[in-house]
Symmetry: C2
Subunit: 262 residues, 2 copies
Amino acid sequence: MSIAVLEAPARAIPILRALMTGESNAVAPLKSVCSNCHLRELCLPCGMECTDVERLDSMMFSRRRVKAGSNLYREGDRFQYIYAVRSGTFKTSLELADGREQVSGFYLGGELMGLDGVAHGKHASSATALDDADVCAIPYTHLSELSAAYPGMQNIVSRLMSREIVREHSLMMLLGSMNAEERLAAFLLNLSQRLKARGYSPIEFHLRMSRAEIGSYLGMKLETVSRTFSAFQQQGLLEVDKRHICIADLVGLTHALDMRMH
Amino acid sequence: MSIAVLEAPARAIPILRALMTGESNAVAPLKSVCSNCHLRELCLPCGMECTDVERLDSMMFSRRRVKAGSNLYREGDRFQYIYAVRSGTFKTSLELADGREQVSGFYLGGELMGLDGVAHGKHASSATALDDADVCAIPYTHLSELSAAYPGMQNIVSRLMSREIVREHSLMMLLGSMNAEERLAAFLLNLSQRLKARGYSPIEFHLRMSRAEIGSYLGMKLETVSRTFSAFQQQGLLEVDKRHICIADLVGLTHALDMRMH
DNA sequence: CGTCTTTTTGAATACTGTCAATTTAAGTGG
DNA sequence: CCACTTAAATTGACAGTATTCAAAAAGACG
């Protein structure tokens, strides 16, 4: 398990050394510019004026590669960057007092991680790549300077964080008031929508996370997740083959959520 | 149920009319200044330099009174202000599809409400006073202008929001991985700490919220909340008389949380 | 004083968790 | 390339916890 990704920015480490040691943070020699990123409609520049996106471009975010299973940052690390997912999938998690992990989110391309670190200058959760991934590292201080300097970009960070608060609200509702079938249905429909927004099929996809990770996120045990998948399959709502999912009856699955009135 | 509080700032409404209609937002003729507020160490000015607190003072936040049971704002209302609780207690809640409510937080003196509205310019939850309460209305746009203009105040809003994200993380952990006793213990210990920080007794207090509201917040039914209170009393951890709570064994109650490894 | 709300408690049910066994897939090394 | 090991997922049986339904008690309020 590599902890090298926790250190200095990737570009400080020679490619050669990265290759020799097999570290996951091998340098992507190119820096990224938002204007011609295929995720610009979903990511940080979403809703911005052209001139403001150009100001983002001036920051030339450095890219960082993260291998499947390794951490982008860990709970307690100094907070310097927020990260935009370019490719791959991440989970964020907290460590419980007894050592178990609690998964707090899954992140797809164009989504931003690390905003919980602003509060105390340290990351409040860990981010782990679920497959080989690629992120933009966005220096937080630069971003807030930019946001202070230009009225059009004002509150850019604030709006992003508020969005995160709203996201967590809906997860709280889920955890607080739904049963196993409703939770899994909500999870799958949410994932389906996000995949659709990214140009992937909303009805057929490959889960990057294990049953245990889904269960941790949804507040249920992995066996219950597995049983609920099987139940949905028997009801004709899904076709499940391990992590390969096909939503056979999207309307029916949505209906499983409306039924939320046990 | 008054919806007048959803309208223009309190000062725009004559005192007389407020008295006549019994509206909850009767004008507090005085405006508030942070420098000599007894909650300044807990509230917005927390951690600020004197000069920055003076800048806050220049905003002269208007006060608003909210009667027990009425709303300060509702889900969907236009977002203009964030609110600092001066006295009293609030709950924030979301409405579920089937009409039930999901409580998302409880707020004491010095705590800030409404940050979830920044994302989309509308409040994402409703705030209801649990007893007669008093708030400072903080115009959000003024606050972010101030935050952009002075480096020392930079990110003031961002840090507050990030703190809210972290708070919700811990609630997710609670909902995702604890049983009924652990949830209630966590709730009571959290409340105890916050009361202590405000100069109240950490071991003896009056709950402002009903069993149903506690249950909604903690993801369990009101009967289960009641039973768990009874169980704690039988274990000698609490003395419970309706909403009057006395923590008889703080160490034991804390231990109930460490036991979280069912 | 009666009505309404809140809280408590009991009994039965339903759901999820726990434990255990099996299957499948993916790596590892001979 | 195949036997072996390891991890992930499925399934069954059973236990335990929380929910549901119901009834009663205790305040709050007009």
